[in-house]
Symmetry: none
Subunit: 210 residues, 4 copies
DNA sequence: GATGAATGAGTATTCATTCAT
DNA sequence: CATGAATGAATACTCATTCAT
């Protein structure tokens, strides 16, 4: 019965937070942020409402924590801090990684699209920042994430022009790529079991835009 | 002095209903259905809350009336009752019409995507019906709308195979088309002013899939 | 096309008022005063809400008008103004008249019992007035009605003592009579078709208390 | 300091529920169900409106809980599960018990008569069930209660015939008894202090129908 | 007289958040 | 750390009443 160490406490704390965030994400993603109640989350997570507020200051803080965690996770998955350069060989891996991350984090992406469709949130995202990423500020972080990706992609298509020649329209191609990516995303994130046809589709997308 | 005629009342009713629906659609689309309050709609429409309920039985009934109106409008715009056949020449017009309708009814489409992302609603749409359209039943109507379009498109890509030959994969092509359409849609409906580059994009999409 | 005379107008007015009161009484009696809405009454009476207020100042005024009309009707039916004396022969007719009036005006009595069970209303009735009846003041009128009947009955049972002798307890007998009357009333007013067994019951009640 | 135990919570819950039900019953009985607002109940109970909904799902659920509690209480008081047989000696106790229960639970009975006079509720009660009593289903329970009593009484009067001889009309006598009971009930439940004359009346009723 | 659109105060209900234990 | 009782501001909805036509 030796008292738990501070580390053990911290570990338990983190586990509980993770549990709450997992449950909350699931519900936010499927029923919507507004339609999901704190009571419901607490009940599903097997804890009391009071405890929820021990871990998260408010419902919105919980949302931001979830978003931040996901963004950081994805950020790390793509290892985007290295150089911001997307080579031709990397492009294929990049697309495949997107396919994986869309499916594995589909709850997050469902929530993400939902939020991005809200006017207020949309406006926040339109101002892309070039400030260094602070992990505690989600939206900044997310903007950074998006602007980094955005820069890499722009870069990639501009370089493509040097290969494809003067008749090639890099802006048009990039727009088509972004449209395809978005369409692929919202298709993919609403399939619960891994789709059989997906491989074909992904290969085809790579084929077109590489 | 003299009392209003039934026609005058009818006119007032229709005008007010339209006004309320217009205001409500705008807010549902931009702030989200749950985040929009009846008070807010009433205030923006310059009427009392009570009057809202003179015209619509509930918030949900208002939503359904809006959806129904939009679906019927789009249905008519596409004139889909004719034969359900999409010829090669028609395909181009079809795409251009989609572009127009996405932009002109962008509030509806914003709302539509928002709703379709809700689990419960998504499930409703998964059962596609082949019953004849009754205008008073929104979801049926919408399913009919979608299933009609869906059938036409499937048809179109199967016929394409006869032209393109055995190496052509109609299912893959159709999937790519649907992905492109969705990506194009969510891109287009969040641009408020008519986009300059849009023409190029549309032409390119037609080029690829015709 | 000669213009209607003032009398004709008055007649139409009275007919409409009667119609409204009939419909309202039916609903007040069966669904309850609070649960019945003005809209509902108007719709059932085939008139507009506005017109209702042309005839009756308020929902409560409508209620009072209904009660007053019924009370006056019953008052007249019993011809109670004559002398307030209830002879032995009259007693039998009195009971039979009660039976008839309970059934024919059962909607009124349903409403009456309902109201009398409301504390506030009950208190009003507890102060019995000996003022002369003014037809425009319902509650006064009703009190007068009740106090007149009450006096007559008290009188009747006191006189009975002179016949029955010293072992007879007039107060007890009167209480039993009032209890029986009330019990008979609430039984009778909730039977819609004229009850077969009722004659036997009435004869028996007369037998006991005459 | 230390957190409350489950038992403590349970105790608080039961106390508060009882408090709310007591206050609500008082108001429902005296002002009527529809005329009593949740705000009013909460204010009188010294709690917030929100708390009411922590304990009862809705105003109607509160009503049903009150009715159920009362019915079960009365059911137990009469110990009706034993055999459903009412002997001559028991009859006297039965009447006296009714007198007591009418007075002690007069708020419930005021509410009961009020509700029974509503058309919709009346119809529910007309279907008497012979299913075993489930305490959680109020109306069933109440029907069972009434049908049990009803059966016992019918039985009692049929047996009386064997004593009184062929000139005795059991149905008429029972009807008179039920009328007297109802009349006694609505008289008794609207007297707040225990009536002096009541003993005489009760004795007389026993005398007549035993 | 007659209509029903329009109002607004009121009612039941919900839910994020606080806090005593 | 943990609980759920308690709060109150906000929300959807109702309905008696008014009023322009």
């Amino acid at each position: 019965m030796s008292p738990r160490t501070a580390d053990q406490f911290e570990e338990i704390r983190e586990e509980k937070k993770t549990l709450i965030m997992d449950v909350a994400l699931e519900h936010f993603a499927n029923e919507g942020y507004h339609a999901t109640t704190i009571s419901h989350i607490a009940r599903r997570a097997g804890i009391s409402k009071g405890l929820m507020y021990n871990y998260f200051e408010s419902k919105e803080a919980l949302l931001e924590a979830i978003l931040q965690r996901s963004v950081i996770g994805i950020y790390r998955y793509f290892d985007l801090n290295k150089d911001g350069y997307l080579s031709e060989e990397e492009f294929e891996f990049f697309i495949r990684k997107i396919s994986v991350v869309l499916h594995e984090k589909r709850s997050f992406w469902r929530l993400f699209f939902q939020l991005v469709m809200q006017k207020e949130v949309r406006e926040k995202f339109s101002v892309l920042s070039s400030e260094p990423l602070k992990e505690t500020e989600f939206f900044r972080g997310d903007e950074k994430f998006l602007s980094t990706i955005s820069g890499m992609i722009t870069d990639y298509f501009i370089r493509k022009k040097q290969i494809k020649g003067p008749s090639y329209d890099p802006l048009l191609d990039m727009n088509m790529f972004l449209i395809t990516l978005k369409g692929y995303a919202i298709t993919r994130i609403y399939i619960d079991d891994n789709d059989q046809d997906d491989d074909k589709t992904i290969n085809h997308i790579i084929e077109i835009f590489k």
